[in-house]
């Protein structure tokens, strides 16, 4: 299994505050990698750095051999990355349909885009009935589906998710995580997932990475990590 995304020696932060220290991370192709860690560990900053919203002060980020450190945010999607932002990042003023269309807009091929759109509606049936509803009329779970569906519209190689469980009932969280597993198995999607909800995340992930105070403190197969109670206590507080 080859590595799709590679971070090596990445330092990043906001102005005087360095959040990520010397982060090395690899995301193997067609797998789910979960990054876990307490709040404030730098998980969100990690995603923002990969997507170009925060520029690393040192180190390199590569996807399939392409250096991402100088690629503009709006070109990330053209390099096969799609992000589902924290807090169900739906543009609430736009309708469900418009949100989804937006996800595939960067591609010139309109026929292909409309085919993908119907695929996404198949995948998320609840959205089908709410095509014309504005984003702010959706429930939390529906918004999360919409955000994931919109990311899928881009036909990404790598899907990045920022705390998909946030504020969702455990049952819905479980559904969404299961869906990610299905996408990996059926379509060969590669996923980088950030979660506070350690147990759920490591449950479906292939690989686990523990981040603490901006440093990678463990990177192991997910099952192994989930079983390591010492590590859990030390870095997650429980």
């Amino acid at each position: 299994m080859s590595d799709l995304l590679t971070l090596s020696g990445v330092h990043a932060g906001y102005g005087p505050v360095t959040v990520l220290h010397d982060v090395d991370l690899t995301v193997p192709d067609r797998s789910i990698t979960a990054v876990v860690g307490a709040n404030g560990a730098g998980k969100t900053t990690l995603l923002r750095t990969i997507m170009g919203q925060v520029r690393p002060t040192a180190g390199s980020i590569r996807i399939g051999g392409i250096d991402l450190t100088t690629v503009k945010v709006e070109d990330m999607v053209r390099n096969g990355l799609a992000l589902v932002p924290e807090g169900r990042g739906v543009i609430t003023e736009l309708t469900v349909d418009e949100n989804l269309r937006l996800g595939g807009l960067w591609r010139r091929d309109t026929a292909e885009a409309s085919r993908t759109l119907s695929e996404v509606y198949e995948l998320f049936e609840p959205l089908q009935n709410r095509r014309k509803s504005a984003g702010h009329q959706l429930s939390g779970g529906e918004r999360q589906m919409l955000a994931i569906g919109r990311a899928l519209m881009a036909k990404p190689k790598l899907l990045l998710l920022d705390e998909p469980s946030l504020g969702l009932a455990p049952r819905i969280t479980a559904q969404i995580l299961q869906l990610l597993g299905r996408l990996r198995d059926e379509r060969g999607l590669t996923v980088l997932l950030i979660e506070q909800n350690v147990r759920s995340a490591l449950g479906i992930a292939d690989h686990g990475v523990v981040l603490n105070l901006g440093r990678v403190v463990a990177a192991r197969p997910a099952a192994e990590l989930a079983a390591d109670t010492d590590l859990r206590h030390t870095y997650l507080g429980f």
């Binding site: 997507m51 919203q53 503009k72 945010v73 709006e74 070109d75 990330m76 999607v77 053209r78 992000l83 932002p85 990042g89 543009i91 609430t92 003023e93 736009l94 418009e98 269309r101 937006l102 996800g103 807009l105 960067w106 919109r150 881009a154």
Partner: protein, 294 residues
């Protein structure tokens, strides 16, 4: 007699209101694209009208002038956004207001230096005399032309934003620029496009309204800007339909005020309306969304 006057004032107000609405739309466009209340919009529109004036005088063709106003407006919008506003730190919202005021002064001064501060009469493509077959309404062919132009702008924007991919990108960039970028939308380009579109529309609005006043001069749009600002606030700065309805309402209101209470009072009426709306319903009368935070 009284009724006839009432009808006349109402119709006249609608005609003016339609132009103000178009102008207010341009403010709404820029606000939505860049979260900036563009205090230089009046000056941009005025400069675009000078371009139209030059083209019309040289070619003798009104329609070429109209096209020139649209293109010229867009070009000035481009220059102002790319050349100035983009470099203004958004940290303090006052900065963009001050920079826009600076742009206003520069444009007025440059136009004044190029053309002098005198008044130029503006040509109109249609007669401004009342149409006989609309007796009693005092609508002229020019009024109808104005209505058609504004309707065209409103419908055009509705189609652009509602039906096209570019419009969808612009809306996404306006509502959530960072998210839009993550989805591959070139947000900064969309902001520039918003400025160009808005400036072209305001140029058209100025071209329509100036012939009904004393003539083209560097300050021809000062008062129009204040009216348009009021309309945009009344309608809710985020709401395009609000700007259109607000424009018509404010136009009629101003016409009644100047007809029944005295023409000199209309700026006072605008001030009162503006204060009332901002203090009682700060989101604008036609806006249902959250309070504004600018």
């Amino acid at each position: 007699m009284e009724l006839e006057r009432f009808i006349f004032l109402t119709v006249d107000g609608l005609a003016r209101g339609a132009v103000y609405a178009a102008f207010a739309l341009s403010l709404v466009l820029i606000w939505r694209a860049a979260r900036i209340v563009n205090f230089s919009q009046g000056a941009i529109a005025m400069a675009a009208t000078y371009i139209a004036f030059v083209v019309t005088s040289m070619t003798g063709n009104y329609w070429l002038g109209l096209v020139a106003a649209l293109l010229g407006g867009a070009a000035i919008g481009l220059i102002v956004e790319r050349g100035v506003m983009r470099f203004v730190s958004p940290v303090n919202p006052l900065n963009s207001v001050i920079a826009a005021l600076g742009v206003l002064l520069v444009i007025q001064a440059v136009v004044g230096m190029l053309f002098g501060n005198g008044y130029y009469p503006m040509a109109v493509p249609f007669s401004q005399e009342p149409l006989p077959w609309l007796a009693g309404l005092s609508i002229s062919a020019y009024d109808l032309f104005v209505f058609v132009c504004v309707a065209f702008v409103v419908l055009g924007l509705a189609v652009l934003f509602g039906k096209t991919n570019v419009g969808l990108r612009m809306r996404a960039a306006a509502f959530s620029p960072e998210l839009a970028r993550l989805l591959g939308v070139r947000s900064t380009r969309m902001i520039t496009l918003g400025w160009m579109l808005a400036s072209a529309i305001s140029g058209l609005a100025a071209l329509l309204v100036i012939p009904t006043e004393l003539g083209l001069n560097p300050h021809a749009t000062d008062l129009v800007f204040v009216y348009a600002f009021t309309i945009a606030v009344v309608g809710g700065l985020d709401s395009a339909p609000g700007a259109v309805i607000g424009g018509l309402v404010v136009g009629v209101l101003l016409s009644w005020v100047s007809g029944y209470l005295g023409a000199t009072l209309s700026p006072v009426a605008v001030l009162v309306l503006l204060l009332a709306v901002l203090l009682i319903k700060p989101g604008g009368i036609f806006s249902v969304t959250k309070e504004r935070t600018a």
